[in-house]
């Protein structure tokens, strides 16, 4: 099976790195990791990513804003987006679903299961 290409954006460098390592080392994905979302649209296009993983709470551009930017561009509008949130509030989850997010993952995530969970979401979209 071909390797999945993912763009992951989180302002916490440690989390970002663990997610990247987890997806690369344990699942063999190709991961582009970014601390902020300013370049998200360009990267998603240039790296031809299969999925974008967005942290929700970030300074300047937060997850929902980046999500809207991706959906606004015809070249990225079709890329699945998974929100990564520390919130366990059901209301927040409902807000992301209403926004159009393809999946929601809750922090803290289990690095050994992260790739599997995202794959499940992607399978669900097929």
């Amino acid at each position: 099976m071909t390797s999945i290409r993912a763009l992951i954006i989180d302002d916490d460098a440690d989390i970002l790195r663990i997610a990247q390592l987890s997806l690369e080392r344990l699942a063999g994905w190709t991961v582009t990791a970014e601390l902020s979302g300013g370049n998200a649209v360009n990267l998603a296009i240039s790296k031809r990513v299969d999925v974008v993983i967005l942290d929700v709470q970030m300074p300047e551009l937060d997850g929902p804003t980046i999500f809207n930017m991706l959906r606004a561009n015809p070249d990225t509008a079709g890329i699945p987006v998974v929100m990564l949130t520390a919130s366990v509030q059901a209301a927040d989850h409902e807000r992301f679903v209403a926004l159009g997010a393809d999946g929601i993952l809750v922090k803290p995530f289990d690095p050994t299961r992260l790739a599997g969970q995202i794959e499940e979401i992607l399978d669900g979209l097929k």
């Binding site: 916490d12 663990i18 520390a86």
Partner: protein, 842 residues
């Protein structure tokens, strides 16, 4: 001789006939006089009874209901014809409500002033400037209907009232039909006016001004007339008709019977054929200002003239002996007349004496039985007599005090002052002590003092003497003081309370606020009466507040109320409190609200919620990194690991997981307790839910070699699936942790009486009964080292309890030390709408 004999015989015949007719008439007149005298006497005594009530009021300023009936019962045996003795106060329109209330609180719950409507039905009295209601009546039995009846509302009674008031004399009404009459008899009322003690009553104007009410006697005429005659066995064979000739002609007939001896109890319709002619005897006497005319006629042979006597005398006219006999008989007639006269006079004298001694005995009985102390003094202030109440009150014997100065019973400085009153009185003749209702201090023989209510009046008689009535008002003063103390205590409590207290009238206007309220809202005390709740409650909250006031005034209890008040300067204050209603006569008159300024508390709650959010993010993020790195290492993400490294990483993973759970538990509990835990209610399949719980705890059960048994006896569980799983998982993992090796833990769920019961049972060490409540508190464990040996920080049960309660359910434990524990969470099968509302609002 014969001519003389014949002439003598004829003369004798006429003499005898005349004598015999005279004798018969005399005999009838004597009987008629007896009847008339007996009735006159009877009605005098009846009026004396009414007078005795005036005496009661003369010696006492205020007479209680019980005192009145006690007095009447003591003074009078039940007497036929006396329907009731009553006290009729004069009550102004303004005093009507308090008077009615006072009688109601005496136990006559339905007491109102009444009158007769044009159809003769008793109805509540309309408004007029003053009333003369029947206030006390004794006996009460049989006179209930009269209580409250306004005698001023009826013209016959009002006329008599006015006449008694103006004359100061007893006045009887014309014939009336009694309010309390159930038969057909007529009645009369006798009013004796009573004036305020010590006020002048010389002129009509003064009498009208100082009238305080009337003593009233109610008499049933038929009974009053027949009873004494029947008892004395007089009146047999006499027809009687009584007219009240002071009344208009159609109202004159008071009583009529063909034969008093028959003692029928009503005005007789039997023929009274011969109430005419010279055989009718007419007598008049006065009854309380009215003149009653008695027409008496002989109705039987008892009063017939024995006409055979003259004829026999004539038939034996020539017989001298018969002349002698006739003469003898005539002589006998005269003797009989004299004897009758002596008998009448003697009985009159006897009755008069009897009346005097009865009246003295009555006065003595009244004085001795009075609850108030009664003392008489002369114009020098020397004591004449004391009744037993006064003896008890002051601790002296009456005999020891006779002739002693009344000032002995007064402490200084009253004693000296009293001496100067007396000397002043001797000089000027002005008696300053005369009057009603003065509070003075009394001095007992043992030197102690006590408060007295004193009234003094002057007695009729040749020398000036005074009667003083003293009432020991120690108890009343103590009660007054207690009331003042209690009022002051509550006023202090009210004023010094830090809560905001307000009383609002039925129209929403402020009546009272305490100082905390005024300080918080920025109003001055005198501004309160000008504002209503609409000026204080925030416009956004005013409709809700008004709705609450309405519901409170309907008697509902809305529980805790949250609202927002606005200070005079416009600052908003969040308040929380309660409102209750004050009812009078079944109508809401005001609401009382107690509120607490929760502005700062709400601010704290907001900060707390913010804190939860921050902790939730900031504490979990580093944990995510640690757990992630460890996970990667353990999973071989950085190459194979083995031996001690594997073990060290396992320890780090386990403890990171534990820390993560603790942070999670802590946040959950905070959110549950601050009401910020959102719940998603749905019907969950019970089998799924329970198996998820067993999955969660299966691994720790296996580690401890504990057998996990699940029994699902219901189809569904209603509630927030994740939270129910969390709660039961907490119970199950506790049960496993405290189970012995190879023990059993059972999870059972079933429906019972509208609730779903989810039970977790273990065979562990059990919980001592004194701990069974405390274990649900946060950070509480059965022994202090449980958290080290068994893990956990003591939040699991607190969370389970919080989750159960936020579902409007509860959690209970049944446990015996050494035998195991049985925890049950009960959840409503369908949540009641009210619980949903309160939860969402909370």
């Amino acid at each position: 001789m014969l001519a003389i004999g014949i002439a003598l015989s004829i003369a004798a015949f006429f003499v005898l006939k005349h004598e015999e007719e005279d004798r018969a008439r005399a005999e009838f007149e004597r009987a008629a006089d007896g009847v008339a005298a007996s009735l006159d006497d009877k009605f005098r005594r009846n009026i004396d009874l009414v007078h005795s009530i005036r005496d009661l009021y003369a010696v006492s300023n205020s007479v209680e209901r019980a005192e009145f009936s006690q007095f009447v019962e003591r003074a009078t045996e039940p007497i036929a014809g006396v329907q009731a003795l009553e006290w009729i106060p004069r009550v102004s329109l303004a005093d009507r409500p308090t008077t009615e209330l006072a009688a109601q609180s005496d136990g006559f719950s339905g007491f109102v002033f009444t009158e007769r409507n044009p159809d003769g039905i008793i109805v509540p009295a309309g408004d007029r400037s003053e009333y003369f209601p029947v206030y006390f009546a004794s006996p009460i039995r049989g006179n209930e209907a009269a209580l409250g009846f306004d005698l001023g509302s009826n013209s016959a009674r009002a006329t008599a009232l006015a006449s008694a008031r103006d004359s100061g004399q007893p006045v009887a009404t014309e014939r009336v039909s009694l309010v309390q009459e159930t038969g057909t008899q007529s009645g009369i009322l006798v009013f004796v006016p009573i004036y305020v003690n010590g006020t002048p009553v010389r002129t009509i104007e003064e009498r009208r001004k100082s009238l305080s009410g009337f003593a009233l006697g109610v008499f049933r005429i038929g009974d009053a007339i027949e009873d004494p005659l029947v008892h004395a066995n007089i009146g047999r064979g006499i027809g009687l008709k009584i007219l009240d000739i002071s009344a208009p002609s159609q109202q004159q007939l008071l009583y009529e019977t063909s034969d008093l001896g028959l003692s029928d109890n009503s005005t007789s319709e039997v023929a009274v054929a011969s109430f005419s002619g010279d055989r009718v005897v007419v007598r008049e006497f006065e009854v309380a200002g009215r003149t009653w005319r008695l027409s008496l006629s002989p109705m039987s042979a008892e009063f017939g003239a024995r006409m055979w006597i003259p004829w026999t005398g004539l038939g034996g006219g020539l017989l001298f002996s018969s002349l002698l006999a006739a003469y003898g008989i005539a002589l006998q007639g005269r003797t009989a007349r004299i004897e009758a006269m002596v008998q009448t006079r003697t009985s009159e004298l006897y009755r008069a004496n009897e009346r005097i001694s009865e009246s003295e005995a009555e006065a003595r009985a009244i004085t001795e039985s009075a609850l108030d102390g009664i003392l008489t003094i002369n114009e020098s202030g020397l004591i004449g007599s004391m009744n037993s109440a006064a003896e008890r009150m002051f601790g002296y014997e009456s005999v020891d005090m006779e002739g002693k100065n009344i000032s002995l019973l007064m402490p200084e400085p009253d004693r000296t002052q009293h001496d100067s009153y007396i000397s002043n009185y001797r000089k000027t003749g002005i008696a300053r002590i005369i009057g009603t209702g003065r509070e003075v201090t009394g001095l007992r023989r043992n030197g102690s003092t006590f408060p007295i209510d004193l009234s003094v009046s002057e007695m009729d008689g040749d020398s000036r003497r005074f009667v003083g009535v003293t009432r020991d008002i120690t108890v009343r003063k103590q009660a007054e003081q207690a009331l003042r103390d209690s009022e002051e205590r509550y006023r202090n409590l009210f004023e010094n309370a830090t809560d905001l207290i307000q009383i609002i009238d039925a129209n929403g206007k402020y009546l009272f606020t305490n100082s905390a309220w005024r300080t918080a809202l920025g109003y001055l005390d005198d501004e309160i009466s000008n504002i209503g709740f609409q000026d204080v409650v925030h416009p956004d909250s005013v409709n809700q507040f008004e709705a609450i006031l309405h519901s409170v005034m309907k008697g509902e209890q809305p529980g805790e109320i949250d609202s927002v008040f606005v200070t005079k300067k416009g600052r908003q204050i969040a308040v929380r409190g309660s409102i209750s209603v004050k009812m009078e006569d079944g109508k809401p008159v005001s609401t009382q609200g107690i509120f607490r300024d929760v502005t700062s508390r709400l601010e704290v709650e907001r900060m707390k919620s913010e804190f939860i959010g921050i902790v939730s993010h900031e504490l979990r993020t580093p944990l995510t990194s640690i757990r992630g790195s460890l996970g990667l290492m353990a999973a071989g993400g950085f190459g194979e690991i083995s031996g001690d490294v594997t073990e060290a990483i396992d320890i780090a993973v386990r403890n990171t997981d534990r820390l993560t759970r603790m942070v999670g538990d802590f946040l959950d509990l905070e959110r549950i307790e601050s009401g910020q835990l959102p719940l998603k209610f749905e019907s969950c399949e019970a089998v799924d839910l329970i198996s998820e719980i067993t999955n969660n705890v299966q691994s720790i059960a296996d580690q401890s070699s504990v057998t996990l048994i699940s029994e699902v006896e219901c189809d569904s569980i209603y509630g927030d699936r994740d939270r129910i799983i969390q709660a039961i998982t907490n119970l199950a993992s506790n049960a496993i942790k405290f189970s012995p090796t190879r023990g059993k833990v059972t999870i059972n769920c079933r429906d019972e009486d509208g609730v779903t019961l989810i039970a977790v049972t273990d065979q562990g060490r059990g919980i001592p009964s004194e701990m069974q409540t405390a274990i649900f508190d946060r950070f509480r464990q059965v022994t202090a080292d449980d958290h080290r040996r068994r893990g956990g920080i003591g939040l699991g049960l607190a969370i389970a309890k919080g989750i159960a309660e936020s579902h409007a359910g509860n959690i209970t434990v049944d446990s015996r030390v050494g035998e195991g524990s049985h925890f049950v969470i009960s959840l409503p099968t369908i949540r009641a709408p009210k619980a949903v509302g309160s939860y969402l609002n909370g």
